[in-house]
Symmetry: C2
Amino acid sequence: MTKATIITIGDELLIGQTIDTNSAWMATELNKIGVHIHKRVAVGDNWKDIWSALEKESLDANLVLITGGLGPTSDDITKPLLCSYFGSQLTVNEEARDNVIDIFTKKLNRPLLERNLKQAEVPDNCTVIQNTRGTAPGMWFEKEGVVYVSMPGVPHEMKGMMDLYVLPRIQEIFDLKPIRHKTLLTAGIGESFLAEKLTGFEAQLPESVKMAYLPNYGMVRIRLSSIDAEAPIDEQFELLKGMVSEHMVIDRDLSIQESVAEKLLESNKTISVAESCTGGYISHLFTSIPGSSRFFMGSVIAYDNAVKKKLLDVSEETLNTHGAVSMETVRQMAKGVREKTGTDLALATSGIMGPGGGTENKPVGTVFVAIASQEKIESTSFHFRFDRKRNIELTAAHALDFLRKNMG
Amino acid sequence: MTKATIITIGDELLIGQTIDTNSAWMATELNKIGVHIHKRVAVGDNWKDIWSALEKESLDANLVLITGGLGPTSDDITKPLLCSYFGSQLTVNEEARDNVIDIFTKKLNRPLLERNLKQAEVPDNCTVIQNTRGTAPGMWFEKEGVVYVSMPGVPHEMKGMMDLYVLPRIQEIFDLKPIRHKTLLTAGIGESFLAEKLTGFEAQLPESVKMAYLPNYGMVRIRLSSIDAEAPIDEQFELLKGMVSEHMVIDRDLSIQESVAEKLLESNKTISVAESCTGGYISHLFTSIPGSSRFFMGSVIAYDNAVKKKLLDVSEETLNTHGAVSMETVRQMAKGVREKTGTDLALATSGIMGPGGGTENKPVGTVFVAIASQEKIESTSFHFRFDRKRNIELTAAHALDFLRKNMG
């Protein structure tokens, strides 16, 4: 069985200045082709720690994927270390050298520095992985039955190498059994209640099918997995769907915004958003989806009351009587943005995200959401009790779920 | 010297369904009080892997921080494992039990399940860390000179425990030397050029001061660090500032949006945004800052041309002659949103983020940015060559940097 470890290198990962998104992406892609990641390790730009991680992890894994530490500056020590670890000499790789020259003269229009050319030097006993998106080449080593792959830490460079070379090569040389996952998304029910509901289901699951709960922003995804091609995962998934039907958002591993987008496209409806407390986050979630211009027309981020009045026609009286954070205001916002943009549907949010701005009647976390269509306006309220960032994320997720249920 | 390792537990971290943000937050907070994280490890919900990580990491560290695997469902095995690892018996902790009951009856208004009550059981040889934000208590163990702290994986619950108990207790029992960091942000210059510029500076740095480059979205942060209280870090930082002055955005560890926000507040100016290609992301960056309502008034996300015309007064003729992605359009967008919202300044973006929508003349990654004030409109263009997500992030960062330079 293929057992893989991911080692990420860089001081910035240990002092908290960078969140490691590479590992999650790599794990997802490796999982798809049947490689099981059993461990992830992050170490600093420190010779002893990197060396020790290589030694230890190669005892437990037959595939060690390494990212980071290949930059042109002196804190990047991964390449000389690998050279020493595998007993090799640095030598110039012509193709990598041409690539560096090409990038500097044609793409960046910058003078080429000696330290940039040095990026084309590689250990003489590795297979060089060319970098189509940057200057540092990747390296593929094999030693005592273990494969080591070193790639840059810049996410889009690493992803290019993985897609073009590393993933296909892994599939070639390892005997892989694809892991199958089936995931559904639920909303409006907590993890422990789901678990209670599914106690019987879980007890009857065959050995070959594993179940996991993945809670996120007030929603819980439930995943069934199997490495056994014969496992009855489809049948079990149908059973599961039946058991959680009233809370199920969608029976695939889609985000709530992707699931709303799909429904909008299917019903050929357009949407606009009027955001106060979410401040552009819902629009950002929609517009992060490729092709979103087919259903998303635009938004008004009405942070200040003057903007609510001028661009959304919220009445002065409503703002004075009920306040900006109220059911009445959010309903007018939804109506206003729909009329101004001419969309079929409109979603609006108003609330207090914190840390300041709370009152006794409307504490931090108070949120109003409305949905307007040609026929009617639906509205609801929520109360969250977290920090600003999480309150914004939760408001967006719950507003999108409310939209999903009320889009007709 | 205190050496700490962070162990995160959960299958979701190994199959890529969750990005680990806990470790980065913990590392930042621990660093502030002088705890050096030398390694981070992520393992799945697997008895053997968790046990082995505990054994191995405790050889190299005297502080082992563990998050995850304490939930109420059967895939959460951390608590029984710790019980066995430290040779203890599970026993009900009264305070934790009262907390669980309190949360279910007063806050959630949900029936209390047996599996929720089980969360109040803890090993009898640990110090219990009460959870003020959830049901699973944390656990503090000491064994053979090593401290082990187990906390829930839910970020806000973990953060509550760290702030209220774990960080103060660590400061009490370890002899810590605070690590000092001084960070500045540069824009418009690549990492290798900075390194070339700073070769002499780096060579003269005393042993006690370390330098690191942290590139992110076309900007590079440079950080000086020292654990020696006597190290001349302030003097070296002044030297550094002098050397990079023409590229320096700000001489603190602030993001570009925080630095723009600070300048707006200092000059008592308000801003609005007209976003096409960034689709709400710039507004989201502004409104993620607490108190942003003091300078940010609102935005129009004009994805569709009809919205550009109706809400931003972009002329039909301009759209027909030059297209939505053009210098002319983005200038009218900036002017339009400033007039509609009555702000001092306005920022506008229009571009093609991909994967579709590119043409020969305007390939994917083409971006136009404009800034309008009472007196004038400034505009510029960029070309990025990455994927949709990164193109949006890069556009936002460069638009904010263009704003910073042109806000008068």
